[in-house]
């Protein structure tokens, strides 16, 4: 375990609203650290629809989702936020001094005076394929990512999917596994053509098997898989040996461990007040798509408004008693100094 990372504000989620929170908090001299489960900033904008235009960002008649993320990154740059990617927050603990200790799924420890949940639709997690009974094998025979290649040594491996993850692991695990069967519902792939060509070449040499179809059934006992049924290919239903399975069915969004933080919830959303956007726990705020209040609209622009008000309240938590002078970026020399511009 590395040392404790301290910051004024820990922001969970680096989507557009989490990013703009850095700006508003930064104007009030609060230093931010963002954690995101993705490997990049931007949240849904970057992951789901980077090239799609957004038409309801004030001042931008049309801007691509990735374009908006890029502009936000440029806007918050003066405040030098820190980012930790590929991590999910797991536990939260209240400290005696009023702050919070947050631990990630990789056991990094953060301490912050304020926690801002800007987690959008929740954390992106691998989607469970619609195979009856698959839950019983998860974590023992069915995995959604590869942590150690050795876990697959000498196993009959079935990989399901047609994207880069599926193809890359087919190629990388082939030398380790006892057998590899790649299953995809059609002969066209989303993966890089080069990987697809390599896969077909290995199939020619009988080093692996590619089958068109869908996995519809599993057999096994006590969490240990034995075989998988593949349906829909030209050969009809077939059963293949399978002691390890790697399904790559894309991502879905789930609230995840935040649900266990002791906050009041409203249908998987976090209720907040509309003055501070604070949750039921003082010092923990929720902004953007993850929060709920009467009249809530899940719009990026609503999130932007929410972070401006939240920042004022967060400042009062971090620096109690300090007078906050309301200022405009257009005219305030002190704000302009923070932004690194001169008026």
């Amino acid at each position: 375990m590395t040392g404790i990372i301290s910051t004024d504000v820990l922001i969970v989620g680096a989507g557009p609203v989490g990013l703009f929170a850095v700006f508003e908090l930064g104007l009030l001299d609060l230093k931010c650290h963002l954690i995101d489960i993705l490997d990049k900033p931007g949240g849904q904008c970057a992951e789901l629809y980077p090239e799609k235009p957004i038409y309801d960002i004030p001042g931008w008649p049309s801007i691509s989702a990735q374009g908006l993320v890029d502009k936000l990154l440029e806007q918050v740059e003066p405040f030098k936020p820190d980012f930790t990617y590929n991590r999910m927050v797991s536990s939260l603990e209240k400290l005696d001094d009023g702050g919070f200790r947050v631990t990630t799924d990789e056991n990094e420890v953060f301490e912050a005076k304020v926690v801002v949940i800007a987690a959008g639709g929740g954390s992106f997690q691998p989607k469970r394929p619609p195979i009856p009974g698959i839950e019983a094998y998860e974590g023992t025979s069915v995995f959604y990512s590869v942590r150690r290649m050795e876990d697959f040594r000498d196993h009959d491996l079935v990989i399901v999917g047609g994207g880069d993850s599926a193809l890359d692991w087919t190629l990388n695990l082939q030398p380790v596994a006892k057998s590899v069967t790649l299953v995809h519902r059609r002969p066209e792939f989303r993966a890089a053509p080069d990987s697809v060509n390599k896969m077909y070449a290995m199939q020619e040499m009988k080093q692996l098997e590619f089958r068109v179809g869908q996995v519809t059934g599993l057999t096994g006992a006590d969490g240990q898989l034995a075989s998988a049924t593949i349906k829909g290919g030209p050969d009809g239903d077939i059963e293949v040996p399978c002691t390890r399975m790697l399904p790559f069915f894309g991502l879905t969004m789930k609230l995840g461990p935040i649900a266990e933080w002791g906050l009041n919830l409203h249908e998987n959303l976090i209720p907040v007040d509309t003055e501070k956007f604070q949750t039921s726990v003082p010092g923990i705020f929720a902004v953007g798509d993850i929060n709920w209040y009467p009249g809530k609209l899940k719009l990026i622009l609503s999130g932007f408004h929410e972070v401006a008000l939240m920042a004022q309240a967060a400042k009062r938590v971090v620096s109690p008693g300090e007078r906050i002078v309301f200022q405009y970026t257009t005219s305030s020399t002190s704000l302009q100094k923070k932004l690194g511009v001169s008026g």
Partner: protein
């Protein structure tokens, strides 16, 4: 107005009047058809508005484009008549279109 019929998984029919140019998904959401989630809001970025196009209509509705095919990889029980309803635009020629909602989305 173009008439569309959604048949929910439990067999309930939803007959709706749809505006040309809108998507089949938008009409499902507007009329609260159960089983159409449309998580991404119509960006062809998830596969939670999956429908089966009635066999009589598959030719008129047409085939999915490559990007939609890619997303269909993530859908549940994909069949040859599977489409993402956010990618079907309502037009005069689709008057009377019937689509079925699968048992579940992903």
């Amino acid at each position: 107005m173009t008439k569309l019929t959604f048949i929910a998984h439990d067999g309930t029919h939803f007959d709706v009047d749809a505006e040309n140019g809108s998507t089949v998904m938008e009409n499902a959401i507007r009329n609260a058809v159960p089983g159409i989630e449309a998580e991404c809001g119509g960006a062809c970025a998830c596969a939670t508005c999956h429908v089966y196009v009635d066999e009589a209509w598959t030719a008129e509705v047409g085939e999915p484009e490559a990007m939609e095919e890619d997303m269909l990889d993530f859908a549940y029980e994909v069949q040859p008549n599977s489409r993402l309803s956010c990618q079907i635009k309502v037009r005069d020629a689709l008057d009377g279109l019937i689509v079925r909602v699968p048992e579940r989305q992903g």
